[in-house]
Structures are given as structure tokens and as C-alpha cells.
């Protein structure tokens, strides 16, 4: 079912394969009730991240409950911040970049989201993994 009741997850990696693989792990381990979008690689298909693609990924799983974004390294975080800037208020305040390992963080965030937790709780759970 589409899940207006749960926080959604966006996975942003420099690698398309890593992003897709992490999303696949989330779907297998958590199930389909949490919507997950994967976003990886630059606009040319190489390693990197792409602001427009990140924005589109967030839009694709948008829910007013919020979206938790998991990022791998440097540019993924900076470009995700830019994408959130472009989305702008009021939605920007309901998007959280989690300071967590991308695979483990995504699974933990999705597990928490599946239980109906709010965005702050989802983020805290993801971030607690690495603490």
C-alpha cells in the first residue's frame, strides 16, 4: 500500500548500484509499507551525486509525515542540502538528512518509520546506530 502514514526514506550515494542495493535491502528487511527512493550517480551516469535527481527522488516518495535522507559521503550530503534548499519551505522543514551510515542507517530508519514514528524519531534511530 502507499503509506501516507509513514515517514519515507531517500538513499543518496555516489554510486547508483549502492543506492539501489541499499534500497533493495530496506524493502526486503522492512517490507513495502515504507516508501524508499534510491538516487545515485551523477547526471552522466558516473560516480557522483546530482541535485536535480535528489530533488526528484524526494518528490517521488513525498509525504507530509516527512522524508529521511541517508547519504554516503561529502558531496552526497552537500548536494542533498542543496536539493532541500530548492524544495524550500514549508516542505524543507519536513526533510532530514541523517548523520548515519547509508546502509545500516537506511534499514534502521525504515524500521522505525514502519512503526509509525515521526521524522525526528526516525532520524534519531538512524543516527543512534553509529553512536
Amino acid at each position: 500500500m502507499s503509506a501516507p502514514g509513514t515517514v519515507s526514506i531517500v538513499i543518496v550515494s555516489h554510486s547508483r548500484d549502492i543506492a539501489r542495493g541499499a534500497a533493495e535491502m530496506v524493502r526486503q528487511m522492512v517490507g513495502a509499507e515504507v516508501r524508499v527512493a534510491a538516487c545515485g550517480g551523477n547526471a552522466e551516469g558516473g560516480l557522483g551525486t546530482d541535485v536535480a535527481a535528489i530533488r526528484a527522488a524526494i518528490d517521488s516518495v513525498w509525504t507530509d509525515r516527512g522524508v529521511a535522507v541517508l547519504v554516503d559521503l561529502g558531496g552526497a550530503e552537500t548536494n542533498s542540502e542543496s536539493a532541500i534548499d530548492l524544495i524550500g519551505p514549508p516542505r524543507a522543514s519536513r526533510i532530514a538528512i541523517c548523520n548515519a551510515p547509508v546502509v545500516e542507517g537506511a534499514v534502521m530508519a525504515a524500521t522505525e518509520a514502519a512503526g509509525g514514528a515521526d521524522l525526528a524519531t526516525v532520524r534519531a534511530t538512524a543516527e543512534a546506530f553509529g553512536a
Binding site: H14, T49, N79, S82
Partner: protein
């Protein structure tokens, strides 16, 4: 006429006034020469393009400068990052240069913001949002007629530096582009001439060699980042020199 936009940046009483022996009288200024097409492959977007009004010229020169140094930027980034800084900067500034004609039709404040937006969207690495917010906020801080002095430019740069600090959650001394841009801004703000800005860029870049990275990919290396120049500081220095070249030519 392009002379109007050109002189709005390079001219004015404040710029260079009394600071260097080579400060030229405003009346002796010549139109900007075209970018040297001989240095670029014939397929290069800059090849055989005429010089345009300032924003277009800046866009083309920025790409030419980055293209000249792309290999070095990537080599520096391979040492302490992921090796793609040259390629990312080429992609981002390639998009800006590709829009040079459109930018040339805009006033400098709007053109800088538009170029910043292109960098954010097209670069593909962390340098995109960082350089993008630099240009965006420099444009927002620019006087409507463009900067008329080094101090005007310093005020624009100050706004851009603040944006980078915010976006990158960084500051001076963290082995980043800020270690070039902040000294350049200070040199200009204190009334320094173009040469002082160049020297500040070079000194700032060299100072990153001894620094330990606190931000970006190099931060993972910890102490092993010491002994390498920062690639972002290097690209910043390349761009500072490009702007200085343009200002000197315009003021000659």
C-alpha cells in the same frame, strides 16, 4: 556596448588607486581581448568565441582557467579525496560557459546568481553547492551597477564566504577553499590592489599544505592529509587569478 559593463567592474576611483605603480589611468583602458582560442581544442566551447560583456567573459574565462588546471586539481584530489575535483569543476563551469551568451545579456548581480544556480545543479560534487552558493551570494551582494572598487568586491566576497561557511559548516584553517578566499577578501577589504589579492591567494593555498583537513573527504585521512595542498583551495586560487587577470586587462 561591452565597455560599459567592463568598466563598471574594473573602473572607478577605488580600484588600484594609489596602491600600485602599474595602476593605469581610466582613459587608457582597452577593450578585453578574446580568450586565446589557440589554447583550447577546436571542440572546446570556448574556442573561437569572441569576447563579450563581462558576465559572458567571466564565464568563458572561468572554464578556460579550470580546463588549464583540471589535471592538477584531480591529481591533488586523488591524494586526499576521491580524485574527481577537476572533472566536477569542468562539468560545472562547462555548464556556466555554455550559458555565456545568456549570462552576457544579464547584469552582473543576476548573472552571478544564475551562474551559481548552474554550478549547484550541474557540478555533481560538493564543490557545486559550495561554489554555487559563493556566486549566488556574491551576486545578491553586488551593487546593481557591478563592483566599482576592490572594496566593493570585498563586500561581495564577504557575503559569498559566509554562504560557504554555512553550507560547508567550515571556517578558516580547515584546509578548504576558505583558506584562499578569506585572505583574498581581507586583502581587498583593506584596500589592497590586484597584486595583493593574487599574493593572498597564493599564500593561502600554500598554507593549506600544512593543515589537517577537518571537512570534506580529506577529513577521513586525519593526519595523513597534512603535506598535501587542498584541491578546493587550489581551484579557488585558480579562479582568483583568472578574475585578477581580467581586471588587470580591463584596467590596462
Amino acid at each position: 556596448m561591452k565597455g560599459g559593463l567592463t568598466s563598471s567592474v574594473a573602473g572607478g576611483a577605488g580600484w588600484n588607486a594609489g596602491k600600485t605603480a602599474d595602476a593605469a589611468a581610466p582613459g587608457t583602458r582597452q577593450p578585453l581581448p578574446p580568450v586565446a582560442p589557440a589554447d583550447l581544442p577546436s571542440t572546446h566551447p570556448l574556442a573561437a568565441r569572441p569576447a563579450g560583456p563581462l558576465p559572458g567573459e567571466l564565464a568563458r574565462r572561468a572554464l578556460a582557467a579550470i580546463a588549464d588546471h583540471a589535471d592538477r586539481l584531480s591529481a591533488l584530489d586523488r591524494a586526499i579525496g576521491d580524485g574527481d575535483h577537476g572533472a566536477n569543476m569542468l562539468r560545472g563551469f562547462g555548464a556556466v560557459a555554455g550559458a555565456a551568451d545568456r549570462l552576457a545579456a544579464q547584469a552582473l548581480p543576476e548573472a552571478l546568481q544564475a551562474a551559481g544556480h548552474l554550478l549547484v545543479m550541474k557540478t555533481g560534487g560538493a564543490s557545486g553547492p559550495l561554489y554555487g552558493s559563493l556566486l549566488d551570494c556574491m551576486g545578491k551582494a553586488a551593487p546593481a551597477v557591478g563592483p566599482r572598487s576592490g572594496v566593493d568586491l570585498a563586500q561581495m566576497l564577504d557575503a559569498g564566504i559566509d554562504a560557504i561557511k554555512l553550507r560547508g559548516r567550515s571556517d578558516a584553517g580547515a584546509k578548504t577553499m576558505l583558506d584562499v578566499l578569506i585572505p583574498v577578501q581581507m586583502a581587498l577589504a583593506s584596500g589592497g590592489a590586484i597584486r595583493a589579492a593574487r599574493d593572498a591567494a597564493d599564500t593561502g593555498l600554500e598554507a593549506t599544505r600544512a593543515m589537517r583537513a577537518k571537512r570534506g573527504r580529506a577529513a577521513f585521512l586525519g593526519a595523513r592529509s597534512v603535506g598535501h595542498l587542498d584541491p578546493g583551495a587550489c581551484s579557488a586560487a585558480v579562479l582568483v587569478h583568472m578574475v585578477c587577470d581580467l581586471l588587470e586587462e580591463a584596467g590596462r
